[in-house]
Subunit: 344 residues, 2 copies
Amino acid sequence: MIKIIVDAMGGDNAPYATVAGAVQALEKDKELYLVLTGRQNEILNELGKYKYDKSRLEIVDCPDVIGMNDSPTEALRRKQSSMMAAYWMLKNNDDICAFVTAGSTGAAIAGGQLILGRIRGVKRPALCPAIPNSRGGVTLLLDCGANAECKPVMFCQFAILGTAYAKAGLNMSNPTVGLLNNGTEDHKGDNLHQKVYKYLSEMENINFIGNVEGRDIMIGNVDIVVADGFSGNIALKSIEGCGKLFLGVMKKEFSANLKSKIGYLFLRKAIKNMRAQLDFDKFGGALLLGLKKPVVKTHGSSKPVTIANSIANAASIYRGNLVPKVQELLSVTDLEAIAGECDD
Amino acid sequence: MIKIIVDAMGGDNAPYATVAGAVQALEKDKELYLVLTGRQNEILNELGKYKYDKSRLEIVDCPDVIGMNDSPTEALRRKQSSMMAAYWMLKNNDDICAFVTAGSTGAAIAGGQLILGRIRGVKRPALCPAIPNSRGGVTLLLDCGANAECKPVMFCQFAILGTAYAKAGLNMSNPTVGLLNNGTEDHKGDNLHQKVYKYLSEMENINFIGNVEGRDIMIGNVDIVVADGFSGNIALKSIEGCGKLFLGVMKKEFSANLKSKIGYLFLRKAIKNMRAQLDFDKFGGALLLGLKKPVVKTHGSSKPVTIANSIANAASIYRGNLVPKVQELLSVTDLEAIAGECDD
């Protein structure tokens, strides 16, 4: 049995999307047991719409909900909230394996660091989405916003965290790592990125292939893209904006007149395939890497399928032994020797 | 008459694309007079394929070509090259209004700064592409890579340069300016971006609307996005990668089987419209802003239509009085007072 806790009140469509997603996840994976935190009445109300295996779901009543605009400090104080209650249970119960939330990113990071805690030796957790690429797979991008300012040693750790995720969650045996930079040449970037390039080159337990550019993320020339949280966030959101524009233009053009509507009928399946390949929701949220247990943060606008996929993602990462893999990679990498002087 | 000089040997498809583009541009704009620099024989060979007004085109024979991998320092030394010869003529001839090149970006920036020279008061030139947005217009993004490390005062100048471009080249009367950051809240970003936010807020001659995110570039919630060259480059290339993936998936899916091929026939016009709206080539390259005359750098892979549009873009910016507009905005903005202390 894999017991996962789900913040049933997190996100714009909660508890409808979270409850529906939880039911879908239970249906797909018979080993799952879910704990939903949130307002019991509202959750029961949603659950009433579905058939599900009641022996594999429980509710923990939490009267409070953290808003998307609450500051992380404020959020941490609210122990009765669906998110922070979940973090406390995750911390205090050995049998709870992982946590899924569509709530505020800032609060999720704060709770992860200050309630659940980091894996021993990890300096800062990183937010790591899996982004669809043109090889039909995904590219991991971390950090994407947990840390606006990064020291060199943090990049080295992101490389370790990403490698562990790719091995544990995505069955990659020797995933490649690239450094997000403003060009592929060795000397590119500011002082910080030049330093990081050198340190990553010296690491033995990752498969570093050098600098990569923004375009390599979706082209998929690399498995793991390591970035400072500022640049990673800008890359991720630039991609989101581009995808949104593309789908918007497609929708407009394909319903412009009778001829295009007829064409659409013929292409419906192709367009569905296309959307599926480009659909971030399919990949089940961003992992908050470096914490003592897997935490998956999905988009605030998550639909039921996104929640279900995020739960499946959390289960798969747990099954793949993410945390032990991170520990193993950390233990065999002497970061002090490589980047020790940069930790000031 | 508007005399524009064109680097006929720049880019992967030169001189075929540059010559064909020049001929197209001459045909469209009867006021244009073009000077092509490059290997005379090769240019004449290409010109032989077309009918064009010979009284409005001349060739300056340059035996040398700068490669995409030559260092900027190396490139500057090669005065006989099509790019550097063009820069020297641009500098020394008052009647030459602007310059268009598809050659190496690094060389174009170096030549612009060190041969042509900056507008008095401009600290660093910025690379500024116009990116299609969902409003059907374009968003300017600068800097996109001319300066990997930026001081606060440079961001303030980018805001001025972008505003002048939007007014001179795009007929915007009061273009909005946003700061590329990892969130829209006032306090977002690292120290540098927090400082820049404050300075931009205090500038009176730009229409600053606050922080913007990567997604706002293509959604088009803002006219001008100001960024350090590192982040701007990552945003631009992330968008490029996403667009490439999208078009690739579309091509694959729409030719997957007979049904989708039939659908494609009905949707051909819609898809053409779609490509046109998302086609960077249409917008005629990136402006190298802050120099004494307009310089347009187009993609190395430019096709004839891209070159033609870049020439038209250069002409339109010249007609719109870009350089005087930059000078005017610089003269009424007391950057010393706003960001004086940051110039260290």
